[in-house]
Every structure is written in C-alpha cells, then in structure tokens.
Amino acid sequence: MRTIYRLNLTTGEATKEEAPPRYVKLGGRALTAAVLLDEVDPAAHPLGPKNKIVIAPGLLGGTTVPNSGRLSVGGKSPLTGGIKESNAGGTAADRLARLGIKALIIEGQAPGKTYTARVTQEGVEFIPAPQLAGKGNYETAGLLRNRYGPRASLITVGPAGERGYAAAGIAVTDLEGRPSRMCGRGGLGAVLGKKGLKALVIEAPGAPLRSPARKDHFQETLQKYREIILANPATASYADYGTAAMVDVMNEIGGLPTRNFSRGRFAGAGRINAARLRENILSRGGAGKPTHPCMANCLVKCSNVYPDETGKELVSPLEYETIGLLGANLGIADLDAIAALNHRCNDLGIDTIETGGALGVAMEAGLAPFGDADAAFFLLDEIAGGTVLGRVLGQGAMVTGRVFGVTRVAAVKGQGLPAYDPRALKGVGVTYATSPQGADHTAGQTVRAKVDHRRPEGQADVSWNAQVNFAVFDALGLCMFVIPSLVAHPEVLADLVAYFHGWDFTAEDLRELGRQVIRTEREFNAQAGFTRAHNRLPEFFREEILPDTQTVFDVPEEELDSLEVR
C-alpha cells in the first residue's frame, strides 16, 4: 500500500505518486500529521488554497483485523489555527486501503465551484457537481448512491462546510449508506467545503482485503487479539448500552456538563441515560437497533439506530458526547429532541460537540432559555439559514462567547470541550489543555484510569500515557473502544503490525510511534505560533468551584508544562 493521490482543485488534476520511504511506517493520524508538517505552511489560512486535507486509513486498514476501519482526516484547523486530525468509522478507510491507497492529499481551491471526486481502481477523477451545492448530507448521499450504486463509500460535507463554518465536520457513510460517521472536530469540513470538494466517492468492487506478509504468525496473533477484546466485559457493555452508558458515569462523578458547564450533575440525567435510550429503542421497535456496527468486522458494535415513537429512524447513532452537549449542557432532558437535533446537525454537517458548546454559550447569553428544545431547533435553523446569528454560532463556542460577552466558555485552543468537566475529571483536563488537538477527549481519555479523578496528583502522567496510547491507535486505524482491551497487551498490537507488514516492530516501536505523532503535531503548532499560553484551560475552571464536586481544576501549571519535554 504505497499509493498517494494528490487531488488539486486549482488545476482540476489528480496525480498518482508513490509514498516516499519516510511515510512507509506511518498511517492514519501519524501520516496526516507528517504530511501536514512537510507540506502545509503553518501560517497558511485554514480556509485558503494553501491548506490541505489529508485522508488516510491506518496501518491496519483494509485487513482482517477487527475494528481497523477508522479513517483519519487531517488539516490545519479553522477552529484552532493549529494542526488537526479527526477520525471516524464507516466504510471509507477499508475501501481506500483495499485500493492500495495510503493517502489522499487534497490541495488548492476552486472558488465558487462544486466538485465530487471519484476514486476507483483506475484512479481519481473530478466530476463537476453543481447540483449538489448547498445540499444536506443525507440528500447528497442519496443522490450519490443513486448515481454510483449502494456500495459506493462516500465522504461528504454539508452546507456548514460549504459556508466555511469552523464547526463543520466531514461525514463518512456507514455500512447502510448513512452519512453519519462524523470526523466532527476542528472544522475540517470547512476546509474541504471551501476547496469546492463536496464529496469523495470511493468504489472498490472486488478489491480484496490486504494480505499479511507472515500469514501464520499473523493469524495466530489475530486470534489472540480477538479473544482479548471479546473477553473484556466492556465490549459487551458497549453492545448493550453504547457510549450513552457514560451519562450515568459522568453524572455520578459530577462532571456531566450541564447548562453551559455551570453544573456537573443534571437533574434530567435519568431521562437521557443509556437505560432510557435502550428502553426506547426496544419498546418502539421498527427501525430501532440497540446495537449496530459502524464498520465492517466490528467486535464492539457500540452504535445504535434510534427510532421515534412510531418506530421510524430518527438518527443513527445517538452517542454520549451528543447527549451530553446537546442534552445536559442545554438543560434538555428529552432523548427524542436530542436525537432530532443530532440528525439536523449531521445533515448540516456540523459537529454536535462544538454546536452544543456554542448553543450552551448562547443560552447563557440569554438568546434562548436552557431546557427549551424548540429554541435549540430555532438556533439550528439560524445556522442552516446562514443568518448573522447562525454564522456566529457556526464558528463554535469560542466565537459565540466573544460576540455575546460570555466569560464561561469551555474551549481550549478555540475548540469546545467534550462532555467531561475537567474539574471533576482532571486527567482529561490535562489532555484538553496540552494536546496539540485542542480540547478533545479522543486525544487522551482518562476516565478508566485508577486515580482519584478529583485530585490533581498524578494526572499529568495519566494524561500523557493516554495521549500516547490514543495516538498509537489512531495511527493504526483502530477504534478507541478496543483500547480498554488492548492497552495491557501492547505486544499483541506490535506483533500484528510486525507480522502483517513483515517489519521488525516491537511494543516500544509502537509507543515511539505514538510519541512521534504528538511531537510532529507540536512542531506544526509551534511553527503556527502556539506557546505555553495556549496549553491552559479557560480561567473559570480554576476560579469557579463546580458545585457538584466542590472542586476547581488545580493541576499545577508546571505539571502541564512538564509534558512539553516528553
């Protein structure tokens, strides 16, 4: 798998090249970071022609390894101004890898134009698609499926990306063709949208899975890998309850963001938790599914299909971050309303985390009352309509806070916080502060760590460990929900890589790969002008006691800075 395609929107040409040797042992987030540092001027405007979007499957993409279908999308973020990688499941990574494609590098810009790019065994071609301009993700996906068939994998941007909203994400189609697996974070949808590339269509009929270099050893290790995942009780819990199980966990911990991060427990949590979610899905029947895979060959199946009262599909999936940010954080205790808001965000192609953060700030500013789902829909209408208010909200929580003079804005490096209050879960607070990715739970989650989450001691170490581990899984293209199973077995992962590729590759090499990802990302950010001052949480987390835990974020600044030299 050595092919890189360069898709230039300025010239309308797509060219094929072989990956240089230094990229061979990189995949996923490791590769997107390396290409961005090599090729993108860190001072480039994120929405201008000099920025690039790099799309890469992981090192184990397109193989028989379960849960290896994560797709990394990288670029300079319009939200943070720094390097960004956002990944999603779905079908695209598997298809690209089967086609032997290591990366797609999308560059240049076609102002005012709308194109799709068709990726097949024969190569890549641009196709003018003015008829798709301004269309929502679901309609876009439907039209493309009609034209290219139900098995085509799609990567699309919605109107939020076309308008250049910094909260815009990139959608990847799932196994049934829904454009609902979101590379949500960091505004990369705006980068792609402003380039004029509305969609990528990936067709790989008959393309075989990639073959391992050392088949016997690989099969043996693969068996271990499967057994480890299936033996972990967390795997079954994800299938039963999905990520929504975290509503109860975070509410008990006292770190469930509620009413714009003013509280950590939500009185309505029992109406939006996993038990209610599962009960609604099972009792309503119809299209509902309590468990559902987002990619082929998934052992976890944390996804779901959430139906309305008549059994008709409302959205798939309905997940914890969305429930946290569009639910508790807005004071909305109604799963049906949250699901409908989620669907609307998916269609617009806008990140539910950033949108929930922005709407929470808007509600605090008095634009709408907390708990009012109709008002939340009204605000999404503004975003969809491109009104001045909608454009402000579409820039995310930070810009919304500036425009309306709100001081309680939960964002780091300009990116809104996911659904873990850092005063209650301090290890994640360290990740939010120090990750080159901005506030991002997928850059180093610590909720499972054996620490007292409310104490500052040891959190820097816990966070660093998680940041490196998550970077490893992102580079391999593995889902983060196999981390709880595999984190104690790095040698199994290293062996998988070694036997598949025929490399000498140890657990230490794996860890070094993770460290290298973070160092590369830091270097890009340093060149973009980031300093220690950017590795801090907003002031209110240190000053304002979270009533439900009676804590502030008090990990010493020296400890945050100690991560710089690791």
Binding site: P233, A234, Y238, Y241, V447
Partner: protein, 79 residues
C-alpha cells in the same frame, strides 16, 4: 451502618430483588467492610466495574462509612 447503593445498567442484576432501576437503595451493613469486600459480598467482578463512593473513584481498600453513597457502573469510555 447504613449506606446507600445504586446499581446502573447491567449491574442492576446485583441489586436486591424488587428494586427499580437506578433507585437509591438503603443497605444495612453489619460491621466494617471495604469496597473490595462489598464487591465480593455482592458477587460483582471488580475488573469491569467502576465503584464511585460519594462521586469519587476509590480503591478496593476504601472502608465504607455510615451514609456513604455507593454507585456501581460499567467501566467504559465515551465517544
């Protein structure tokens, strides 16, 4: 000694019979017991369970005290 327990999601099966989901259940504990001992008493596997006492994650050697609110939850991550 009285403590208050909540059993979430698949851990509900360890709650006393007849108790509704997520209900806070007062339990009378005879004598001194650690969290690890309490898990053993209930038959819950420690490896896959998050135990929060008054909202804080605790080690197995934590000794339960009068009035503690103990929550049993699956050990997961969000997404």
């Amino acid at each position: 000694m009285k403590i208050y327990a909540r059993f979430y999601l698949h851990l509900q099966k360890y709650a006393p019979a007849g108790k509704a989901a997520e209900e806070e259940i007062p339990l009378e504990i005879p004598g001194v017991i650690t969290v690890a001992g309490f898990l053993r008493f209930l038959g819950i596997s420690a490896g896959d369970t998050a135990v929060l006492v008054n909202g804080r994650s605790v080690e197995g050697d934590y000794v339960l005290a009068e009035g503690d609110r103990v929550a049993f939850l699956p050990l997961l991550e969000g997404g």
